[in-house]
């Protein structure tokens, strides 16, 4: 290797060094800034929290103590509403009370029934979101809607639906309607319309427009062009986004349930706050199992629909 560089090479070398120095400086400033922000954030969060982090840390696993049931079979009994040997008339051990009787003998255990209710909330909301999102997406896509006003209105409308905090929608409908699943359906569907509509119209905008042009030349109306030129192309992607949204909505409807929207979320919050260990564990197991099952099922179906395309989960 030559020790002495030519003039040109020396200039290049100097530039390289200068660049490296600026880059290092930027990295240093960026990194230092980040550390300061993180430290300040942590101090702020610690101050704002009810329990201080380092004071509470030794008791971190205390909550698990409340969870340990008297007997691990209790978890099963709680899940399937079987009578408990510890039943002392209190709410804590009175599992059969929650049975949802189909006939005199046949019943659906309370938690499973509530889990199904949550799943149904999620499915219905996703269906509503998809139906409205479907229509809106064609109105918002640049290639299908030449009228900028309609497009703009459709897009802004979906943006507002998406950005509106779902707690507020749920809370508003809880105030107007009764307690129960309907506010949750409203909140989750309204958000789904915005989110799915956005995903859908991006799919539509990326669609191949040659078939559409062919049908325009045939004299097809707007609806016919959508039906025959675009729907066959976009449907697999729509279905895939539908499934993805369903996964997200199962979680969302559980959470909304916990703030008063019915379903399993509400029961989970109640049983945690009342310290019913066996009940909490059985709900957590049920919820965990359902979410895993829904995720796996939807991933499998999506793979079949659109191949190995990985989608970024979106909220």
């Amino acid at each position: 290797m030559p020790n002495r560089l030519s003039d040109r090479a020396a200039i290049i070398e100097r530039h390289w060094r200068e660049q490296a120095r600026t880059r290092r400086l930027y990295t240093l400033i960026g990194g230092g800034g980040l550390i300061v922000v993180v430290a300040l954030s942590l101090v702020f969060a610690n101050e704002a929290n009810a329990g201080k982090f380092f004071e509470r840390l030794p008791f971190f696993f205390d909550f698990t103590k409340d969870l340990v049931p008297r007997d691990w079979l209790e978890v099963l009994r709680a899940m399937f509403d079987l009578p408990s040997p510890y039943d002392d008339g209190s709410l804590k051990y009175n599992y059969p009370e929650g049975r949802y009787l189909v006939t005199a003998d046949l019943y659906i255990p309370e938690y499973i029934e509530k889990m199904l209710e949550t799943l149904n909330i999620a499915l219905l909301s996703t269906v509503i979101g998809a139906l409205f999102g479907f229509v809106l997406s064609f109105l918002a896509a640049r290639n299908m809607m030449p009228n900028a006003l309609v497009r703009g209105v459709a897009r802004r409308f979906m943006e507002i639906l998406r950005a509106f905090p779902d707690v507020v929608i749920a809370g508003f409908f809880l105030a107007v309607l009764t307690l129960g699943p309907i506010p949750a359906i409203m909140a989750v569907s309204i958000h789904s319309i915005g989110a799915l509509g956005k995903m859908f119209f991006e799919v539509v905008e990326n669609a191949d427009m040659r078939p559409e042009e062919g049908l325009r030349a045939v004299g097809g109306s707007w609806i016919e062009r959508v039906r025959f030129a675009l729907v066959p192309q976009v449907l697999p992607n729509f279905a895939s986004y539908f499934l993805l949204r369903f996964e997200i909505n199962v979680r969302a409807s559980t959470i909304i349930g916990a703030v008063g929207g019915g379903g399993i979320g509400e029961l989970l919050r109640l049983s945690i706050s009342q310290g019913h260990g066996a009940k909490t564990i059985s709900i957590v197991i049920l919820l965990f199992g359902t979410i895993v099952a829904v995720d796996q099922f939807s991933a499998w179906l999506r793979r079949r629909l659109v191949g190995g395309d990985a989608f970024l989960p979106a909220t």
């Binding site: 993180v38 969060a45 704002a48 929290n49 909550f63 950005a163 979680r251 989970l268 989960p313």
Partner: protein, 493 residues
């Protein structure tokens, strides 16, 4: 050309029977799908009893709540005493301030000889204060002995709701005019109201003699019973958004306030007018600006730290989880299942657990986001790693680099933009999620919002917070989109 005779048609049909008869599913797939969706929606309609709930819902309440997001009300009570004296009172926390003399209400005063009975005056002043949760304690009777005294009282009160609608209270009757229609109600001071003539469409009375409610659309409504008229005069906007009635700056125009701040005499000798104005603004009791902003910051911090730490933990773990980086089946599987576990025990469950451990506040929310997203980001990161192009890595290996150096120069440049972009995406979406787990007890603006919602009265405050949240999400959305498109080199979204 294509004009075929019947025999030609039959011949073609015979030659291509399978094509002439359309395949069953090709024809019925779409109707069957539409049918299935319709059946499912109907089933859910029944399952959740949606029709029933919607039918029994009072949509007027919904409309009035929505209206309250952007309006405020003055609620004076016009009380008519038995002797015909009229008194106008405002609830203690009425936004109108300490010296009410609104332009939309005119009062005719006159002198009158009155027998003062002990409880009467107190009751008249406080009746109709029900709307305020901070109800003033009833005033103690001033005199024990009945006495006679001349005092100035209101003889006639007129409230103008709009140009076409007004309400006039005189000692024995209430006259309401709206759009040319006139309703005259005689009041007999015994909680009985009688309408003279039929009620117009804008007035309702449940039973004869019961109180009458007259509605003036967006400009308000009034409730008339035998001895008092409660006015709800509605205005658009957020009242007292900057300074509350307790502030020295209340009711002053922007110019006046500016003048006071710049060159006015000190209103409070202890501090400058600027400090006083800022303090009055931040601690405005009806809007609680400082508190709302602090809570919003808590939520932002929750999402920021939670996502950042999740990314930092997921980063090394994803190298263990990726099949093509760590060639150890057991290590891959264990890490991946660990990610799945964290993802699937939902943010809700983590949030509920951590609220018990740390108490409500941003640390709990942070921990919940951190736990869930370590799983989600870890999964995405390891998938990104498994999809990388192997050639640069071979190139770096071929020069004899150490394994760590191979990862640093052969792998990292490929995946780092993807990692950062996904982390930014999660940061943005977690800002939204942090609101809702906040409502479940993890603190921040979510909890404040939820508490405000539970009262069913603070709608303007709720809307204020909603706008702040939407604005924050929008800003973060823009920042993260800008950063991402810069990283990936093409606009996303």
């Amino acid at each position: 050309m294509l004009v075929l005779t019947a025999t030609e048609m039959d011949a073609i049909a015979l030659r291509h029977p399978h094509a002439v008869r359309p395949p069953f599913w090709a024809v019925w797939r779409v109707p069957a799908m539409a049918m299935a969706i319709a059946v499912y929606v109907l089933f859910s309609w029944w399952f959740f009893g949606i029709g029933q709930v919607l039918a029994t819902t009072n949509w007027q309440i919904a409309g009035s709540y929505l209206l309250q997001w952007v309006t405020y009300e003055y609620r004076p009570t016009i009380a008519i005493d038995k002797d015909g004296a009229i008194k106008v009172g405002y609830p203690r926390f009425d936004p109108i301030g300490p010296n009410p003399d609104p332009a939309w209400m005119s009062l005719d005063r006159g002198m009158m000889e009155r027998r003062i009975e002990a409880p009467a005056s107190g009751a008249a002043q406080t009746s109709g204060f029900v709307a305020s949760p901070f109800m003033a304690p009833p005033a103690k009777p001033a005199t024990e002995q009945p006495a006679t005294r001349r005092e100035e009282v209101v003889k006639r009160a007129e409230v103008r709701f709009t140009n076409e609608a007004r309400l006039v209270v005189t000692p024995d009757r209430v006259v309401v005019d709206k759009d040319g229609e006139t309703l005259t109600l005689s009041v007999n001071h015994d909680d009985e109201v009688k309408a003279q003539g039929p009620l117009p469409a804008w007035a309702t009375q449940k039973r004869a003699g019961d109180r009458v409610i007259v509605a003036f659309g967006a400009s308000g409504w009034a409730q008339i019973d035998g001895s008092s008229v409660v006015i709800h005069k509605r205005f658009f906007g957020w009242v007292n958004f900057i300074f509350d009635t307790n502030s020295a700056f209340f009711g002053k125009s922007a110019g006046e306030v500016l003048h006071l701040v710049v060159s006015g005499e000190r209103l409070d000798p202890a501090r400058s007018n600027l400090a006083l104005a800022v303090d009055d603004f931040l601690h405005n009791p009806s809007w609680q600006h400082l508190d709302v902003w602090t809570k919003l910051l808590e939520t932002i911090v929750m999402a920021f730290i939670g996502t950042l730490f999740a990314a930092l933990v997921a980063f090394p773990l994803c190298f263990v989880a990726a099949r093509n980086i760590t060639r150890n089946r057991a290590a891959n599987q264990i890490t991946k299942r660990f990610f799945d576990f964290q993802r699937s025990v939902d943010m809700l469950i983590w949030a509920l657990f951590f609220t018990r451990a740390f108490g409500p506040g941003p640390i709990s929310g942070m921990a919940a986001i951190f736990f869930t997203d370590t799983g989600s980001l870890g999964k995405l990161f390891s998938e990104a790693l498994e999809n990388i192009d192997g050639k640069p890595r071979e190139g770096v290996t071929s020069v004899g680099a150490a394994p760590i150096a191979v990862q640093r120069f052969g792998v990292l440049p490929q995946v780092l933009p993807v990692f950062v972009s996904q982390t930014l995406y999660f940061w943005e979406s977690n800002t939204r999620s942090a609101t809702i787990i906040g409502a479940m007890g993890a603190g921040g603006i979510g909890l404040k919002l939820w508490e405000a919602m539970r009262t069913h009265t603070n709608w303007p405050n709720i809307f204020y917070m909603v706008i702040l949240i939407i604005g924050t999400v929008f800003i973060f959305d823009t920042i993260s989109n800008a950063l991402r498109s810069r990283l990936i080199g093409r606009p996303q979204h």
